[in-house]
């Protein structure tokens, strides 16, 4: 239990740092979705299933969809 939560925590922080420092915007959004998914696993390890279901459907589903629709409307030019 301790080893699993340690590994998940390390990958969570690394993907958050990559999400901020990425060059393309689509990489940021995909890394944000990955962070949200790892947070769902952390919520299950902390024995909170209500919070896990809500974060899974809202964070990894709805927020990613809204970000991608915004990028589609913005993205006629590339960004830094």
């Amino acid at each position: 239990m301790n080893v699993i939560s340690f590994i998940i925590g390390i990958v969570l922080v690394i993907s958050a740092i990559v999400a901020i420092e990425a060059k393309k915007l689509i990489t940021s959004v995909v890394m944000l979705s990955l962070s949200s998914l790892l947070a769902v696993v952390s919520f299950v390890l902390l024995k909170a299933p209500d919070v896990a279901i809500t974060e899974a459907s809202v964070g990894a589903g709805f927020t990613t969809a809204i970000f991608l629709l915004t990028l589609k409307r913005l993205g006629r030019g590339k960004s830094e």
Partner: protein, 250 residues
Amino acid sequence: MKKVVAAIIAFLFFVMFVSILNSDSKSLMGIPKFGEVNLAERVSSRYISKSVSEDAGEIIYGETNNAESGSANMVTSIVVNYRSFDTLGEVTVLFIATTGVAILIGGGKRQRLAISVNPILKISARIIVALLLVFGVYVFTHGHLTPGGGFPGGTIIAASTLLMLVVEDDKRVSKLLKFLEGSMGFLYVVIGIAGLIITGSFLQNFLPTGTIGNLFSAGIAPVVYSIIGLKVGAELSGLLDDFFAEEEEK
């Protein structure tokens, strides 16, 4: 230069917080160590044993009748029954945000997709939409027995709307959804006022709470969660429809 200063500020914040977590004096913020929490000195012990007003003894699944909130899921009983005013505030915040998005970017024509959709995808999407709707309704009606509740149930219904909007090229969400969202919010306040008239406190439980573990138990908790599930589903579907609209030509 700016990134170095920002990194130093973030690192100082991290060091300050970790030093607070590691100190074990009771007077400095009182954050206990991870996992060593004594529930008897927190208010949650009253929520768990369902004895906020008077002492209720031991709660047993399948046998206790007419407990104080009657739902098997303790988080549901907190969200809907003991702290229902916070849920009313959250519903209001969602409503204001959706109205803001609709004013800013709503009301244009539908954007066309760049690729044409396979007919297999169009037909199988209809079957999946039906399954998703049934699953969403199951999640929010069984909110007092299983994990879940109104908010993830509404999001699953919005996911089915997203699937239909992506597959069909010229459909839009009907205007009936905005009316459904407003009327469900109004119905929640009406239930609160009914609780005020019948029992004397706003949003108090006035239906009988049956045996713990049945579907028809826990008073107004399944009713309120169904209202919240339909409201959130309609709201998020309308929000997705606003993001699909095209910008207006100047």
